[in-house]
Amino acid sequence: MKDPVAVSVKNLTLRYGATLAIDDISFDVAGGELFGFIGPDGAGKTSLFRVLTTLLVPNRGACFVEGHDVVKEYHQIRNLCGYMPGKFSLYLDLTVEENLSFFATIFGATIEENYDLIKDIYVQIEPFKKRKAGKLSGGMKQKLALSCALIHKPRILFLDEPTTGVDAVSRREFWDMLKRLRDGGITILVSTPYMDEAGKCDRVALMQSGKIMKIDTPEGIIKDYPYALLAVKAGDVYPLLKELIQYPGARRADTFGQSVHLSFRKGEIQPDELQRYLIQKGHPHVDIEPITATIEDCFMDLMTIN
């Protein structure tokens, strides 16, 4: 019977010497959830994963993985979790096959007994199974590292920035694989710096500088965005941005590709007036439309609050 709370963290604090890597965070992850940690470098994502996989001891706080204490019962945790560290630690001078076989064996499993778990992923690299891991592309290394983390049928997966440095196609395929694994009942914790990947998780925690700014479903976070947003397009982004920053009544102006997101307090938004203002300033072809916030808008807003 699976523990309904797969991971439980209370008041976790971690220091590296004088640096505060994790600053008093608390959260729970339910069994079978696909949970994302979104944040830039230095947010504390890697440190957090190292604490949960029992590689680091926290300075303060109580953390439990599948009911086991990370400090005292590390041995049990190491048996039931699968870990994919940043930069996919693989043995570059061993072949694909040899890597997989090694990681299976040290967990007391065989490739055969758990093959269906990794089949969908492994078939994509199987034609290269005799190639040394060092000679694989980023996307293939990623798939191999995931297979190695899964081969002993873990109950819970920790994936630290598995999509960093990987091309867009492989990234999409990777998230599809994760969703299938989650549907199969594995709890998955993923960290990523890419804001757009937040939408693929069941719930996300937005992290910055060792703190969690917000935890909720992606939809929930967007719903909680307290301001009204307009997307403004006028051909030349940079001068447009400079104008909009000056626009009275606007809270923030941020570039998003070819348009600028302009946020207002709810009720104060006046697209027509804005259009007149911009035409007057010399931007004849102006496109203004109200939009819902993206995770990135929410993240930036939360950053400025903290």
């Binding site: 980023g138 990987v166 091309d167 710096p193 982004v237 940079y238 941020d254 993240f299 930036m300």
Partner: protein, 260 residues
């Protein structure tokens, strides 16, 4: 692959009409490592004042091409003219007129902010008073004056990136090459960084940038996408999205990659 003709509605993001003067001319660039062809007959031009995005998956040949343009590696064959100088015969002149910044390395961790500025100013031949003037204005603009004597390893990542860019610009190069400059920073810092890029382009500096973030490719005037050593697409982001029937550059990329 393409030579896009200048149509009247292509203006810079800064509001100036892009000069039709080409500042980078590449014709049939080939780079081989043994039997492996990293760059396969690349042909393109970059205009003065343009923000040119150079995209592609890892291993597609982006880094190789950028290193050749900077004069770090010799091409196997092909014509290259960078900042008005021929890469084969006037390599030193090329280097004096370009700036370079990469994600992997930009500044020395064990030197202070000011020492880094002074060092790079020195090796680009700036005079002492030039260096102190530019250092002062640079640090004020980036709000780093209080960190003047701090070691680089002790300042946050976001500040480091912005400082590295400014240092690359210190000697007023004609072109600045940026190799994945915004990896891992938070979204606000990333936008501040791009504001610096816009300003530089507004001032007439050509910016040649590679990036993994597809939404950043939309900040560029034109974008080229490399696949397997060749340029698979080169155009403005709007035209590419139209051509591939995609709503984002991410989709353009995926359609291109899947199509091969």
């Amino acid at each position: 692959m393409n030579d896009v003709t200048l149509t009247p509605d292509i203006r810079t993001k800064q509001g100036m009409a892009i000069s039709s003067e080409n500042i980078i001319l590449v014709k049939d660039l080939v780079k081989k490592f043994g039997n492996f062809i990293a760059n396969d007959h690349l042909t393109f031009q970059v205009r003065k004042g343009e923000i040119f995005g150079f995209l592609g998956a890892n291993g597609a040949g982006k880094t190789t091409a950028i290193k050749i343009l900077c004069g770090l590696w010799y091409p196997t064959s092909g014509e290259l003219n960078v900042a008005g100088y021929d890469i084969y015969t006037q390599r030193e002149k090329v280097k004096q007129n370009i700036g370079y910044m990469s994600q992997k390395f930009s500044l020395y961790d064990d030197l202070t902010v000011f020492e880094n500025i002074r060092f790079y100013g020195g090796i680009y031949g700036l005079r002492k008073n030039e260096i102190s003037e530019r250092a002062k204005s640079l640090m004020e603009k980036l709000d780093l004056s209080s960190a003047r004597n701090k070691l680089i390893r002790d300042i946050p990542l976001g500040w480091k990136q912005k400082l590295a860019f400014s240092v690359a610009m210190l000697h007023n190069p004609k072109i600045v090459f940026l190799d994945e400059p915004t990896g891992g920073v938070d979204p606000i810092t990333r936008r501040q960084f791009w504001n610096l890029i816009y300003e530089a382009a507004h001032g007439g500096t050509t910016v040649f940038v590679t990036t993994h973030y597809m939404d950043e490719s939309e900040y560029c005037n034109r974008v080229s996408i490399m696949v397997d050593g060749r340029i698979a697409a080169l155009d403005t982001p709007e035209k590419l999205k139209y051509q591939y029937n995609a709503s984002t550059m991410d989709d353009v990329f995926i359609r291109l990659a899947r199509g091969k």
